[in-house]
C-alpha cells in the first residue's frame, strides 16, 4: 500500500510517501520522481515520515535517478525516515549518496543553504 502526494512550497517540491514501497508499486514512485524532474524545480524534498517499509525495488528507483540529479544539478533531500527504513538506506550505502535529514527544517535548510 502506497500513496504519494506531491506539493509545491517556495522553490521546492515535497513528495510525501505514505505506506510501503515494494516491487508492486515502485513504478508509481518512479513516475512521480520523473514528473518532478520534468518540471522546472531544482529542489526536491522527500517526506519519509510515514514511509513504513521500502524494498530493494524501491531503493532501486532512488538509485536510478542519482545520475540525473547530478547532471541537472537538482538538490535532492530525504527527511524523517524511521530507524528501520534509515537502516535499509544505510546498509545499502545510499546514505553516502543521498542527503538524509531528520526533520523537515533541517532538510529545507540544507536545500537552501547549498
Amino acid at each position: 500500500m502506497l500513496s504519494i502526494n506531491m506539493t509545491g512550497a517556495r522553490d521546492h517540491l515535497v513528495i510525501a510517501l505514505n505506506g510501503e514501497v515494494d516491487a508492486s508499486n515502485s513504478v508509481e514512485l518512479d513516475e512521480v520522481i520523473q514528473e518532478a524532474l520534468s518540471g522546472s524545480t531544482q529542489k526536491i524534498l522527500v517526506d519519509g515520515r510515514n514511509l513504513e517499509y521500502i524494498s530493494s525495488a524501491g531503493l532501486g528507483v532512488f538509485m536510478s535517478y542519482l545520475e540525473d540529479f547530478r547532471e541537472k544539478e537538482v538538490a535532492f533531500v530525504i527527511f524523517g525516515l524511521n530507524d528501520k527504513v534509515m537502516n535499509v538506506f544505510h546498509i545499502l550505502g545510499l546514505d553516502q549518496l543521498i542527503r538524509i535529514k531528520n526533520t523537515q527544517e533541517e532538510a529545507e535548510e540544507s536545500l537552501y543553504d547549498a
Binding site: 538509485m63 550505502g93 553516502q96
Partner: protein
C-alpha cells in the same frame, strides 16, 4: 440349456413352420376326403386346431426373432415390410381366384380337395402377414419405451396366447363367450394403438410414403379378412381355420393400428415442417455447443451461427459485422455476407443509422446489456431488421444483422431461438479462447520450470571447506525462481573464498541477474584479489550489465585457515553476524559499504571498506540475506536483527547444520503457516573448529 446360434434358429423356425403347415394340410385333406367318401375313423378337429396353434406360435417366434435382428431399420422400412407381405398375400389370393376363373366350368373347379388346398395356402399367407405386421407394430409401439407401455404389450402377448387356445374350450362359433373375447381384444388393440410417437420423427416425404404403405396395409387387411370369411361361408364343410380368436384379434389389431397411424400421419402432414424445423434447430444448437475443434477457428463457428439463425427465422438476407478489437489489433470487418451485395449493405447501413431504434445503438456507445434490437425500416426491399450483438468475455465482438422482406418478420420464438444460438456461440468462442490461453499458460509454466531447474543448479550443491570449519547453507525462493546467491571457492587447502548476494527485485529478472553475478564471481575469484578489489572489479563489470534501477548487494570473504584470518568487504549487503567465543556474544560486523551497480564509476572504491578478523575455535559466522531479517508475521512485524542475534547467542554451541536449522525454523515459525514468503531466504552458517 442348449442355445442354438441365431441364423440356425431362423432356418429351423421356417422348416418347422412349413412342416406344421404340411401336417395341417394333410390332416385336413385326409379328413375332408374321408367325409366326402363317408369313411369311418373321422380325425378329430382338435388335431387341426392344435396344429394351427403350433403354426401360429412358430410364426410368431420366427418374426419376433427376425425383427429384433433388424432393430435399427427405419420406420419406413418396417411399414414397407408389412405392406409388402400384405401385397404378397393379396396377390396370391388374386392369382388363386384367377386360376379358378380359368378353370371355370371344369370338374376341377368344383373339387373340394383342391379348394381346401388353396384355402390353406391363403390361410398360411394371411397368418404370415398378420403375425409379421403385428410384430412390426410392436416395434413401433415400443419405439419410446416406458415401463407402462412395455407391460401393456406383454399383457397383450399373454392374452393373444390364451386366445389361441380358446377354440379348444369353446367350439361354438360366434356365441357370447367368443364375442366377448373378440370385443376385449379389439378394445385392447385400440388402447395399444394410441402409441404413435414415431410419427413426428418422419420427414415430410417419409410421411407421404408411409401414408401410401399404410393405405396398402389397410386395403390388404380388409380384403384378406373378407376373403377368408367368405371362404368359410361358401365351404361349410371345411374346418374353419379363421374362426380363431387369435387370428381375428390380430386382424382387428393390425387394422386398427394401421388406420390410426394412417389418420395421425395424415393430420400430422401440415405441422411436420415445424417439427423438422425444431429438429434442425436442435442440431444447429448441438453443432454450436461443440467447442471449436483444433484446426478450426472462430469464423467457422460464426458461419454455423449465420446458417442456423437464417434458417430458424426464414431470413432473406444477413451479414455479420465484426468490430475492431484494439487489444488484439484486429480491424473490424464484414463476415459472411449472405444474399446481399456490398452496395445494398452500405445503403441499408446508412438507412439504419437514420432510423430508430437502430440509430442510437449503431451511432453511439455500445450498450453493454442490450440483447437485441428489432424493428422495421423504410426500405424498398427489406422491411424488418433484427440486430443481435455477439459477445465474448463481456465485450461485444460484433453484430449480427438479419433482414426480412416482410413487415414484422420476426416473432418472439424466432428471436428467442436466435438469441440462444448467439449465446451458445459466445460460449463456444469464450471456451476456445480460454483453451488457447490455458495452452499458452501451460507452456509458460513449463518454461518457468526449466528456469527453476537451471537456477537451482546455480546454487552450489557442495560447499568448500576443510577440517578447520564446518559450513552449511539453505536457500528458498518466494517465486518459482529467486535472486539469492551464495557460493564458495577453494584456492588451495587452506585458502577459501565465500560470497553471499541478493539481487534487487525478485522472480525471473532477479534470477537472470543472479546468474550474471555467478559469472562475475567465477571470473574474478581466480585472480585471488583482496575483497575490496574484488568488489570494485565486480561493480565495474556489473555496471555494464545491470539495468538502470537494478543493483546487487553482496559480501565477499576470504578465509585463511593457517593464519586464522578472515578478510571481508561488504557491498551494501546485510551486515555479517559473528559470534566470538572470546567475547561470549554475537554482533553484527558493521563496516561501510555500497551496493554493486549503484555507483557506476571509479568513485565506487571510496565507498568500500575492508574488514579483517581473527577467528578462534568455537566462533560462528552467519551470512544471510534480507529476506531473513525482513520476514514479516501476520501482524506485519519483522523478524529483525535482534531476534537473529539472540538466536545465535543461544545456539552458538551447536554444529553449523543445527545452527542453520534452528534459525530457519525460527523464521518460519515466526512468519506462520498462513503467510506465503514474499522474499527469498538464504542463510549460510560457518562454525570454526581449530
Amino acid at each position: 440349456m442348449v442355445k442354438l446360434p441365431n441364423i440356425q434358429r431362423g432356418k429351423i423356425y421356417i422348416m418347422l413352420a412349413i412342416l406344421t403347415w404340411f401336417a395341417l394340410l394333410f390332416v385336413d385333406l385326409v379328413r375332408l376326403f374321408g367325409e366326402i367318401n363317408q369313411m369311418e375313423g373321422d380325425i378329430s378337429r382338435e388335431i387341426t386346431w392344435i396344429l394351427e396353434i403350433i403354426f401360429f406360435i412358430i410364426l410368431y417366434l420366427y418374426f419376433n426373432d427376425s425383427i429384433n435382428k433388424n432393430e435399427n431399420s427405419s420406420f419406413l422400412n418396417l411399414i414397407w415390410r408389412a405392406a409388402s407381405t400384405g401385397l404378397i398375400a393379396t396377390t396370391t389370393s388374386f392369382l388363386i381366384i384367377y386360376f379358378y376363373y380359368l378353370l371355370a366350368g371344369s370338374r376341377l373347379s368344383d373339387d373340394p380337395l383342391l379348394r381346401n388346398f388353396f384355402y390353406h395356402v391363403n390361410f398360411a399367407l394371411t397368418s404370415l402377414f398378420l403375425i409379421s405386421a403385428a410384430l412390426l407394430w410392436k416395434h413401433l409401439i415400443l419405439y419410446q419405451k416406458s415401463k407402462a407401455v412395455v407391460q401393456q404389450w406383454q399383457a397383450y402377448e399373454v392374452i393373444l396366447l390364451i386366445s389361441m387356445f380358446f377354440v379348444l374350450i369353446n367350439q361354438e362359433s360366434y356365441d357370447y363367450g367368443f364375442m366377448f373375447g373378440l370385443i376385449f381384444l379389439v378394445i385392447y388393440g385400440v388402447i395399444l394403438s394410441v402409441n404413435l410417437k414415431w410419427i413426428p420423427y418422419l420427414t415430410f416425404r417419409e410421411k407421404w410414403k408411409s401414408i401410401l404403405f399404410l393405405a396398402i396395409i389397410i386395403v390388404c387387411t380388409a380384403y384378406l379378412l373378407v376373403q377368408l370369411v367368405s371362404y368359410n361361408q361358401k365351404n361349410i364343410d371345411f374346418v374353419n381355420l379363421s374362426e380363431n380368436l387369435f387370428l381375428l384379434g390380430l386382424f382387428a389389431f393390425v387394422l386398427i393400428y394401421a388406420v390410426f397411424s394412417f389418420l395421425v400421419t395424415l393430420f400430422n402432414l401440415p405441422t411436420s415442417s415445424v417439427f423438422e424445423q425444431k429438429l434442425t434447430e436442435a442440431i444447429s444448437f448441438q453443432k454450436l455447443s461443440q467447442s471449436i475443434q483444433p484446426g478450426e477457428n472462430e469464423e467457422q463457428v460464426l458461419d454455423i451461427l449465420m446458417d442456423s439463425s437464417m434458417s430458424a427465422a426464414y431470413v432473406d438476407a444477413a451479414w455479420l459485422e465484426l468490430h475492431a478489437q484494439e487489444e488484439e489489433d484486429l480491424p473490424g470487418k464484414i463476415l459472411h455476407q449472405k444474399f446481399i451485395s456490398n452496395g445494398e449493405r452500405q445503403e441499408l447501413m446508412a438507412t439504419l443509422k437514420k432510423t430508430e431504434p437502430f440509430a442510437s445503438y449503431l451511432n453511439e456507445q455500445k450498450n453493454g446489456k442490450l440483447e437485441y434490437i428489432y424493428g422495421k425500416i423504410p426500405h424498398e426491399t427489406f422491411q424488418s431488421v433484427l440486430i443481435i450483438p455477439i459477445r465474448a468475455n463481456k465485450k461485444i465482438l460484433g453484430d449480427l444483422f438479419l433482414l426480412k422482406e416482410v413487415k414484422d418478420g420476426f416473432n418472439k420464438e424466432m428471436i428467442n431461438i436466435i438469441s440462444t444460438f448467439v449465446g451458445q456461440t459466445s460460449i463456444s468462442i469464450e471456451n476456445y479462447r480460454l483453451l488457447n490461453e490455458a495452452i499458452r499458460n501451460e507452456r509458460y509454466r513449463e518454461e518457468l520450470e526449466i528456469a527453476q531447474r537451471v537456477q537451482r543448479s546455480l546454487l552450489p550443491s557442495e560447499l568448500h571447506h576443510n577440517e578447520c570449519f564446518e559450513i552449511d547453507g539453505f536457500s528458498a525462493a518466494a517465486d518459482e525462481v529467486g535472486g539469492d546467491y551464495y557460493e564458495t571457492y577453494s584456492f588451495d587447502r587452506d585458502h577459501f573464498a565465500l560470497i553471499i548476494g541478493d539481487v534487487s527485485g525478485k522472480g525471473t529478472s532477479a534470477a537472470f541477474n543472479m546468474s550474471q553475478m555467478k559469472g562475475v564471481f567465477h571470473s574474478l575469484v581466480q585472480l585471488n584479489l583482496s575483497p575490496k578489489d574484488f568488489l570494485t572489479k565486480a561493480n565495474s563489470a556489473l555496471s555494464r550489465c545491470l539495468e538502470k534501477n537494478n543493483f546487487i548487494t553482496t559480501t565477499y570473504y576470504t578465509v585463511n585457515t593457517i593464519e586464522k584470518e578472515i578478510h571481508f568487504a561488504r557491498a551494501g549487503h546485510c551486515p555479517t553476524l559473528y559470534y566470538s567465543r572470546e567475547k561470549g556474544a554475537a554482533r553484527f560486523l558493521n563496516i561501510k559499504g555500497m551496493g554493486l551497480g549503484i555507483v557506476r564509476n571509479e568513485s565506487f572504491e571510496q565507498y568500500i571498506e575492508e574488514g579483517k578478523l581473527h577467528f578462534q575455535s568455537g566462533d560462528v559466522m552467519v551470512l544471510y540475506t534480507d529476506g531473513i531479517v525482513e520476514a514479516k508475521n501476520e501482524i506485519g512485524q519483522e523478524f529483525g536483527y535482534d531476534n537473529l542475534r539472540n538466536l545465535l547467542d543461544l545456539n552458538y554451541h551447536l554444529p553449523a547444520r543445527e545452527i542453520r536449522t534452528k534459525i530457519i525454523e525460527s523464521v518460519f515459525a515466526f512468519v506462520g503457516k498462513e503467510i506465503l514468503p514474499d522474499d527469498d531466504y538464504s542463510l549460510l552458517a560457518i562454525k570454526f573448529k581449530a
